[in-house]
């Protein structure tokens, strides 16, 4: 019992320590993004653009693929249920609202956490074990400015964009079922979708994607910066980065849904 209590105590202290360190990195990254440019130290745009390309453009095919098939699946499942009450055409609105409010931002974030979060940790982690980060510090260059800030900016811009892609492609998946299985006319399907969609559905999803972007960037970078123990350490941190990102995405998603549900 004493041992168990000790383990919980140690884990709690470790969690507080890690959260504190991550918070410090976040604050420093915000400084480099919003304050330092006015003091003559802007974030290097070429690094930001490179990350935007890697994170955003590189993720479009897989985000589209996942959401397209998820749209088809959701349409099939909902129309199967709605068939029992004779309102299959409601499926269009349901798919639309589901994607803009929940599935679009959520699936895009999960895909990006798995693909990009892992890549961020692996890249920064490899730099840490090969002393590249130490070298930056020795040259009086701030690793947060060079490594974290560009990735955070890129994710903040690209994840909402990917969410829009996910929403559109997911609804297209629903359209395929509506058009070819339920034989709903194209223009009528689109009208049905927009009849049920309200602006709040779209902005709540986009706000969530911004929170997910911060989480993925911070966890990915923090895990990379704190890699210990060579190549094996990089592997462990990369796995932890993906697992933690997904867990936090689910928790944040739940909190936001609760907030949006009650307001």
């Amino acid at each position: 019992m004493k041992e168990f209590a000790g383990k919980i105590g140690r884990s709690t202290i470790s969690l507080i320590k890690h959260t504190g360190s991550m918070w410090r990195i976040f604050i420093e990254a915000l400084y480099w993004i919003f304050i330092a440019p006015f003091r003559g130290h802007p974030c290097k745009m070429k690094y930001v653009v490179a990350q935007m390309n890697l994170i955003g453009i590189g993720s479009v095919p897989i985000v589209a693929l996942v959401n397209f098939f998820f749209g088809i699946t959701l349409a099939m499942l909902t129309s199967y249920q709605l068939k029992q009450v004779g309102s299959q055409e409601l499926m269009a609105g349901l798919v639309g609202v589901s994607f803009t409010r929940e599935l679009g931002p959520f699936l895009a974030a999960i895909v990006v956490a798995s693909r990009v979060g892992a890549a961020i940790t692996a890249e920064i982690g490899t730099m840490a074990v090969s002393e590249e980060i130490d070298a930056l510090e020795t040259m009086a260059l701030k690793p947060i400015r060079f490594l974290v800030a560009p990735r955070l900016i890129a994710l903040l811009i690209m994840l909402p964009c990917l969410t829009v892609v996910a929403n559109v492609v997911g609804m297209m998946g629903g359209y395929i079922i509506g058009r070819f299985n339920l034989h709903i006319d194209s223009s009528f399907y689109i009208k049905l979708t927009f009849d049920y969609l309200v602006f709040k559905d779209i902005w709540t999803g986009l706000i969530k994607s911004v929170a997910f972007a911060v989480m993925i960037a911070l966890i990915g970078c923090y895990q990379g910066l704190t890699v210990r123990g060579g190549a094996a350490g990089v592997g462990i941190s990369t796995t932890q980065s993906v697992v933690q990102s997904i867990i936090f995405i689910i928790i944040i998603d739940c909190l936001f849904n609760a907030w949006f549900y009650f307001i």
Binding site: M127, S130, E131, E132, D134, A135, M139, A140
Partner: protein
Amino acid sequence: MSILEVKNVQKVFDGRKVLDGVNLSVGKGETMVIMGGSGCGKSTLLKIMIGQLKPDAGEVFIDGEEIVRLRDAEMDKVRLKFGMLYQGGALLNSLTLAQNVALPLTEHTRLDRKIIDIMVKMKLAQVGLAGFEKKMPSELSGGMKKRAALARAIALDPSIVFYDEPGAGLDPIVAAVIDRLIMDLSKKLGMTSIVVTHEMKSAFRIADKMAVLFKGRVIAYGTPEEIKKSDNPYVQQFIDGSLEAASVSAKDSTEEYIKSLVEGN
């Protein structure tokens, strides 16, 4: 006059005293070699000297400025006075050699891009890598990486260059080339060199002064000749690279030394 001074530096890790009152003084333009076996604390000392690690006690002066109590922003100004060559080079793998060498120049000076390009070419030529500007670090051999890293370390013409095991992982000829570069920087440009190594041949080739660390203490200090003549059995054993128990002092037998390495105390 000393350009680097270490005064009574102590560091403890997990109850283990890694540095136990180290004192060192390095004169301007000198090449100081810090030697010692694995786990003797030389890497910790190097990290403290470049401000990457804070000692538990003691002081470090660089060019007369005490760095231990400096804030990060103040330390950054001191960092511009020295360069560092890491064991593996630590070049940024996503940048070309030219971009690596240009990095400190673009970030810390207001020089025109064309001037920076010329300076980069000069620095790379200085280490024998003219024409390699567009190469990526992954395309280079170990020795070339270290030379490129040295070009980056001297990009801002620092007064001190720290070297962490410069010859590690290199064949003897390439290691000798790196040694020659260190000597050239010291003799021709007047740069002070602080080299951490355990390679005897290289150490005696480049050193003006030497310090031998053992169990976190400086047990021998002096010119290479003085070190060679040292009557400390550990120093002699270290120079010879012998495992003979007879050549170590009674209080530190070979078995005890190996045990201390294994157990880390």
